[in-house]
């Protein structure tokens, strides 16, 4: 059940009306939300519901036990935290990586001509598992670091884990910001409601007028790369990065908006990544709920332990950090090398940082727009290239795609391209305009304009544009597979 479907809105109305009208306290509201979340998740994949309930109970207990031992028996608290992390990673490993691991081992044994009886497994990966296991692990680590107090209310905790707008595909919420919101009764707020609806509308616009319009064409190019020339592949790389952004940012906006309508604020996921001036900056603006999670719990931990290695410690931690981000997406060598590629880029960016600053000072480039935009273009190109690797189904696919580049430029593959030009390009222009405006001047913003009539007309036009130009026979979200 995706947000841009009639079924979802029927479900949402059935949840929302009693949520605000029937419950006098936060307890009832949370219980209702928990039930709704389980129904929602069960709708997507009921077989995994018992697992979700079980891990919720276990991590709830772990949280309390860690806090209890934090000062009395610090070693035991550490052990319990490790147990939580191992459990979270274990579930993730079993469902996400075990099949891949067995297949690769079998291939290795065969290559070394060792006898083995390993068979490929076919483990169905439950939707959303990468998202809720990260929430759970983050929770126990935060409790151990004493940045949060564990909750005693299991319904509250269960709601945090299974919260239906975010369980399928994030944003990955932090207990520290989410749980306190559940500890109070939410009242219907006009501002929250309207702001939530606007974000849902913007999300639909991104998803249906850009991502889904581009998708058939990029699929046609990357799916049959052997038949395409360098021009088509380069254009597809650029469009695929835009598709990836609008697809996932669109989902996140809808999730954030739906939560907001219920009076809950969840983590932001994107902060205008295409306005980033270098690779590090881009990663701070892209899938932020994941990158901050991994930065806080993987990068910092590593970096602290390796702090006596000086610069090299930072480099190693950076590389590992990006590889973890890459591999988080799934069990495939493409994601591993995607991580390595970005890790190396990031190491290069960091090591050149001082020189760049000096250079900028010497040439007075700080406010030079041409310089700023060339940096943006360069950053975008690095990510567009990386997105080819990200999109490839295997390394041989990726190398095959690259091998098409020296074949030379020629005419662009234009089958069905007119719909991209007519529908997606104006929408992309609007997105860039909005992000550029937000980056420089915060006041021009058509959905949030000062004049009421500008807001109303913008909303009406946007709804009409989605209906007329959007891809309505919906496609799934890219990030549902992760």
């Amino acid at each position: 059940m995706v947000v841009n479907s009639i079924n979802f809105w029927l479900f949402f109305v059935i949840v929302l009306v009693p949520y605000f009208l029937c419950f006098r306290g936060k307890g009832g509201q949370n219980l209702w939300l928990l039930l709704a979340s389980y129904v929602f998740y069960g709708w997507a994949d009921w077989r995994i519901l018992p697992l979700l309930v079980a891990v919720t109970a276990v991590f709830y207990a772990l949280g309390l036990a860690i806090e209890h031992n934090n000062h009395l028996r610090p070693r035991r608290a550490s052990h319990l935290t490790t147990l939580g992390v191992v459990l979270g990673l274990g579930i993730l490993f079993y469902f996400k990586y075990f099949g891949f691991f067995v297949t690769e081992m079998a291939a290795l044994f065969t290559a070394l001509s060792l006898p083995h009886s390993l068979r490929s497994l076919n483990i169905v990966m439950p939707i959303g598992i990468s998202f809720f296991t990260f929430k759970l692990m983050g929770y126990v680590i935060e409790v151990h670091r004493e940045s949060i107090r564990p909750t005693r209310d299991i319904v509250e905790f269960g709601t945090f884990v299974a919260f239906f707008p975010t369980i399928l595909s994030g944003p990955i919420d932090r207990a520290g910001t989410f749980l306190p919101q559940l500890a109070e009764r939410r009242r219907f707020g006009e501002n929250n409601f309207v702001e939530g609806l606007k974000r849902v509308l913007w999300g639909m616009f991104l998803k249906m007028c850009i991502a889904d319009v581009i998708a058939p064409w990029t699929d046609a190019v990357f799916g049959n790369y052997a038949h395409h020339n360098a021009t088509s592949i380069l254009v597809a790389a650029v469009l695929y990065l835009i598709q990836l952004y609008t697809d996932f940012c669109g989902f996140s906006e809808m999730a954030i908006g739906v939560a907001r309508m219920m009076g809950l604020r969840v983590a932001e996921n994107f902060n205008r990544p295409f306005m980033a001036k270098n690779v590090a900056d881009y990663w701070r603006r892209w899938h932020m709920s994941l990158t901050t999670w991994i930065t806080d719990y993987v990068f910092l931990t590593l970096n602290v332990s390796l702090r006596n290695w000086g610069q090299w410690g930072v480099y190693v931690a950076t590389l590992v950090n990006l590889i973890v981000i890459g591999v988080w997406h799934g069990a495939n060598w493409t994601y591993f090398w995607f991580g390595v590629y970005h890790g190396l880029l990031l190491v290069a960016t960091t090591s050149l940082d001082k020189r760049r600053k000096k250079f900028e000072k010497n040439h007075r480039l700080k406010d030079n727009q041409l310089y700023a935009w060339s940096r943006r273009l360069l950053t975008f190109s690095f990510f567009a290239f990386g997105s080819v690797l990200f999109r490839a189904t295997s390394m041989s696919d990726f190398l095959g795609t690259l091998a098409r580049l020296p074949q030379g430029f020629s005419t662009l593959y234009t089958e069905e391209f007119s719909s991209i030009i007519l529908y997606a390009f104006p929408a992309i222009a609007l997105v860039f305009l909005r992000e550029w405006a937000a980056e420089y001047r915060r006041d021009i913003h058509f959905l949030h304009a000062h004049r009421t009539w500008v807001r109303l007309v913008s909303i009406a036009l946007m709804i009409s544009y989605i209906l007329y130009a959007g891809q309505l026979e919906g496609q799934s979200f890219i990030y549902f597979q992760f």
Binding site: S147, V304, R307
Partner: protein, 80 residues
């Protein structure tokens, strides 16, 4: 060493590591208040602080700090 002295030393260290002209830290200062203080520059800061005060923090201690004040508490605790 007094708290105020520690803050003075810290101001120097921060200005040096983060390449800033002037830093004035308080108990409540966090990484959000200083633009240059991010996840990448955090560790060089910690290393510089350890060196300057001749102390060694545990990983968990470092993770638990939520502002400069708590960092100063750790330094005071460790000082002979």
């Amino acid at each position: 060493m007094e708290r105020t002295e520690i803050f003075e030393r810290l101001n120097e260290i921060f200005a040096d590591v983060l390449d800033l002209d002037d830093v004035s830290l308080t108990d409540a200062t966090t990484a959000n208040d200083i633009e240059e203080w991010d996840s990448l520059s955090h560790i060089p800061l910690v290393v510089a602080v350890e060196k300057a005060f001749g102390v060694k923090f545990t990983s968990l201690e470092i993770m638990k700090w939520s502002n400069v004040g708590e960092m100063v508490n750790s330094i005071l605790q460790k000082q002979p």
